[in-house]
């Protein structure tokens, strides 16, 4: 049983095949059990997420003491806070249709999935190994790449297809998956892994 969003030109069979590809990738390579989420549950899971206190890295101060204290008191603006949400997207061209696929997920889930792929879940959980942001981004780009490849393999049959390299970036700080409405012609799923919410959406450029 799965829930998908607004109606769109991509056929229902293709959308069903996307969910199958998501499950295949999550279970076979990332050892994760993925569930589809009704909108209410998805919203509850998003709201339940405790915000991570993450800020953009800055170079360490050269001197400690009164100067840094004065700088703080002078009302210097805080460094920008980072969004908890990451987007991994790639464009594809195939015989059935061409378009774009995007995975939107919290950084903590991205880290969990990449650790699992690398067989480092326990080490990361115990803080024996730290996955750096570029490693997490590379891994989650591969996650999106695998889903898209598995999906198009199923849809394309004998025909080959081309995938562009994935692009991974943080969403704007004030972005929320709850306030983000799907664009016209977009299809997707609300999902969760271990009660962490995430989304996948596809758009055909043939529309």
């Amino acid at each position: 049983m799965s829930y998908h969003e607004s109606p769109a030109p991509i056929t229902a069979d293709a959308v069903d095949a996307l969910f199958v590809a998501v499950v295949e990738v999550c279970e076979n390579s990332f050892f994760a059990f993925v569930e589809s989420c009704e909108p209410d549950r998805f919203a509850a899971l998003v709201e339940r997420m405790v915000p991570l206190v993450e800020q953009t890295p800055s170079p360490p101060p050269k001197r400690r003491g009164r100067r840094s204290g004065r700088a703080a008191e002078s009302g210097r603006p805080d460094r920008p806070k980072l969004s908890e949400w990451v987007s991994a997207s790639l464009t594809f061209t195939g015989s059935a249709f061409s378009g774009m696929i995007e995975v939107l997920l919290p950084v903590r889930l991205a880290r969990q999935l990449v650790a699992s792929l690398l067989g480092l879940s326990q080490e990361v959980e115990l803080h024996e190994v730290e996955l750096l942001e570029h490693q997490v981004f590379d891994g989650i780009g591969e996650f999106a790449n695998m889903i898209c490849g598995a999906w198009l393999t199923d849809l394309s049959g004998t025909q080959a297809f081309n995938l562009e390299p994935p692009k991974v970036s943080r969403m704007p700080f004030d972005w929320s998956p709850l306030g983000d409405s799907s664009a016209e012609g977009e299809q997707g799923y609300r999902l969760c892994v271990d009660d962490l919410p995430w989304r996948i959406r596809v758009r055909s450029s043939n529309d």
Partner: protein, 139 residues
């Protein structure tokens, strides 16, 4: 003496080249290789076909695991180049790709690819492939 030679051959380590533009995938494949109990020599890594060619020209490699879709030089171009050179005819070629379409598989089979592994795959798939390669290599 002949027995000694055979014994040495049986433990001759296998040098492997992993070609993938994703550092995560290279690390994942390397970790699976590390977990096998096979006599593995050096594991080289390349981010595209061009880098892989440079390694093949300068190092002794018995097996190549390559992605297909890569910038600069694709896995298809790399495999074409390997197939063209007589000195590399014995290198075992394994493709690991997200593109599982029949057309793509047929394209690379014409380049003497020994095995086509479609992503996503479970680690034991690579482990089993390595066991098969090792038994062939040591025969």
């Amino acid at each position: 003496m002949a027995e000694e030679t055979t014994a040495v051959a049986a433990t001759r380590p296998l040098n492997i080249l992993i070609v993938d533009d994703s550092a995560t995938m290279r690390t994942m494949i390397r970790r699976v290789i590390d977990l096998t109990e096979l006599p593995i020599g050096t594991v080289y890594e390349a981010v595209n076909g061009l880098e892989a060619l440079h390694i093949l020209e300068t190092c002794s490699v018995q097996a190549v695991f390559t992605d297909i879709n890569m910038p600069v030089m694709s896995g298809y171009e790399l495999l074409t180049e390997i197939a063209r050179r007589d000195a590399w005819k014995d290198i075992l070629r394994i493709v690991i790709s997200t593109d599982g379409s029949r057309l793509r598989q047929e394209e690379v089979r014409e380049l003497n690819v020994n095995l086509y592994i479609r992503k996503p795959f479970r680690p034991e798939v690579v482990r089993n492939v390595l066991s098969r390669i090792a038994s062939t290599h040591h025969r």
